[in-house]
């Protein structure tokens, strides 16, 4: 196998170390033993869109349904108590994963999108007035742009955008210039889903707080790769989706500081979120239940808890080191190809490489490498402003997870070479 000598930190085999056995990890993911298109091993490099699920996650959900499922926080019966315990254990695991000060700071949502919408609708409507400013960055996912635009329609707020440079670096000096007494919210991604850029969020939070603004961090692309400590960061809100962290779809986390959450009006009304209801007046629970109207995604919370356990057992440091090796290898191999441009060369990156092949549209690239069994994302990655910034409509993106190997990168590169040949 072709391995450049410049890749550091490799002990033996395919980037496996004593603490990190990638083959053992791969065996936990049933889908990775699948073959596609007449026997080609599935090479799954679309983890930025959604990650695959280990057996432990799948089993945890089946086990709940098969042995102790019921609605939560309702019944006095055994299954309800069991399910409630399992559900609240998921909350504790999420709280610990982010080092939240309290379990009450963890609100279950359908995903990061709903979490951001919740903050924009609840906190935003209650606290923002015409002329107030929300600062986002140029590399936000649409889910951290559109909720603020919806609020702008309603409240006449101003949205300011932090520029990025040609390598995809967050321009911190420009960010500081955008801050003013009018800035009430800074909502930025932790890791860009289109470019892989790691944003210096600790510095962002510090600077924003000096102006009295709150900070929301979109951690979707960060939590599978980096250890996050919301208290050390000093953030006010932190959101992520479970399915990118090897958990199920339909479950996400809104972490918020407890004092802020308890001062926010409800987002949706219904069961579970009330303290008492009469036709004249309803009083609401405190966080987190205030924001969890209706029967929640119980099995999904259990699955997310299992995913967090899984990641913790391997260790985020080990995962980050492994993924960094794969990313570096992929970057080097792509750079070595003629006619390949990497889009996004930020100083600090995590697990994502976006690229373009000269003269071949990413959509065609995606269709071709797919036939080699390689799943990459092609398109605008729900980040059209980033695409505009780099003057492209779309890119191809390989995004890595803890189970990816350098051999899989080789398969991608071979497929890209064949694609180039095909298009001549």
């Amino acid at each position: 196998m072709n391995k450049p000598s410049s890749v550091v930190g490799i002990t033996s085999g395919d980037n496996s170390t004593a603490a990190f056995d990638v083959e053992k990890i791969r065996a936990d993911f049933p889908i990775l033993s699948q073959t596609v298109y007449d026997g080609k091993p599935l090479v799954y490099l679309d983890n930025g869109a959604s990650a695959q699920k280990p057996r432990q996650v799948i089993d945890s959900m089946s086990d709940l349904y098969e042995t102790r499922y019921s609605n939560v926080h309702r019944g006095v019966h055994w299954t309800s108590q069991q399910s409630t315990n399992a559900y609240e254990a998921g909350r504790q695991k999420a709280a610990a994963y982010l080092n939240a000060a309290s379990d009450n700071e963890i609100i279950f949502t359908r995903g990061a999108t709903e979490a951001i919408n919740l903050v924009a609708a609840s906190w935003g409507r209650a606290n923002l007035k015409a002329g107030d400013e929300v600062v986002i960055s140029h590399m936000e996912h649409h889910s951290n742009i559109v909720p603020w635009q919806l609020l702008r329609q309603e409240k006449d707020i101003v949205i300011k955008v932090v520029p990025i440079d040609d390598d995809g670096n967050f321009l911190f000096d420009e960010f500081e210039k955008l801050l003013s007494d009018k800035t009430k919210m800074v909502a930025v991604t932790h890791v860009s889903n289109a470019l892989g850029t790691i944003v210096p969020v600790a510095d962002v939070i510090k600077a924003a707080h000096e102006k009295g603004a709150l900070v929301l961090i979109d951690g979707c692309q960060a939590v599978p790769h980096l250890a996050v400590d919301v208290q050390a960061l000093g953030a006010d809100f932190y959101v992520f989706s479970g399915h990118k962290l090897y958990g199920p779809t339909g479950i996400g986390i809104l972490w918020g500081r407890e004092d802020i959450l308890n001062a926010m009006p409800p987002y949706q009304g219904g069961g579970e979120m009330i303290a008492s209801v009469t036709f004249e007046k309803t009083t609401f629970q405190k966080a987190p239940h205030r924001f969890e109207a209706g029967t929640p995604a119980i099995a999904e919370v259990v699955g997310l808890g299992a995913a967090i356990d899984y990641v913790n057992a391997i260790g985020l440091d080990n995962i980050a080191a492994h993924e960094h090796g794969v990313l570096q290898y992929a970057t080097e191999r792509l750079q070595a190809m003629d006619g390949v441009t990497i889009i996004g060369n930020a100083r600090e990156k995590a697990a994502i490489v976006s690229f373009a092949l000269d003269g071949i549209h990413p959509h065609d690239v995606g269709t071709f490498v797919d036939r080699a069994g390689v799943a990459v994302r092609v398109g605008h990655h729900c980040a059209q402003p980033v695409m505009d910034r780099f003057g492209v409509a779309a890119t191809a993106r390989a995004s890595f997870g803890l189970y990816n190997t350098r051999a899989e990168v080789d398969t991608l590169v071979d497929a890209l070479k064949e694609t180039k040949k095909f298009f001549g």
Partner: protein, 156 residues
């Protein structure tokens, strides 16, 4: 490695994709529409010129897209030239069915010129790639939007 992609990416399609025909903005166009494929972010502008009787005397496009969508736009603009709106719409209906229905019978297209038919059949290889059907039909949707007075359309 990619033999099974030859049906979709035939030489003629690759040629149209690389060197699209009618890739221009006619000054005398009588209507235009912007077409968006939200799946991939591709955008096309289709320009149609009609005479007083409603016949399409010129059709052209600009924009960027994958090989399939550019080839389709290139072919579409060639095919609809000289046709009435009704004929163009009928061809699109037929082409759409060809790309999406397993039980499609070529006879459903009715009377149409053979050259147009050959090209449409060639592109209908996208049927095996459901996500790419939108690439092949974007130009046609946009043409239809232009002649019916909509300025914006999308494959969604």
């Amino acid at each position: 490695m990619f033999d099974d992609l030859r049906d979709l990416y035939q030489e003629v399609i690759l040629d149209h994709g690389k060197s699209p025909r009618n890739f221009r903005r006619p000054e005398d166009h009588t209507c235009l529409a912007h077409g968006n494929n939200p799946v991939c972010g591709d955008t096309l502008v289709v320009y149609i010129t009609q005479d007083d009787n409603g016949k399409i005397t010129d059709a052209a496009f600009q924009g960027q897209g994958c090989a399939i969508s550019v080839a389709s736009a290139s072919m579409m603009t060639g095919i609809v030239k000289g046709k009435t709106i009704e004929e163009a719409n009928r061809l699109f209906d037929g082409f759409h069915n060809m790309c999406t229905r397993d039980d499609f019978d070529i006879a459903e297209l009715g009377d149409c010129d053979e050259d147009a038919l050959d090209r449409l059949v060639m592109l209908s290889g996208v049927k095996e790639f459901p996500i790419r059907v939108k690439c092949a039909t974007l130009a046609w949707h946009t043409m239809q939007a232009a002649v019916s007075g909509e300025e914006e359309t999308s494959t969604e």
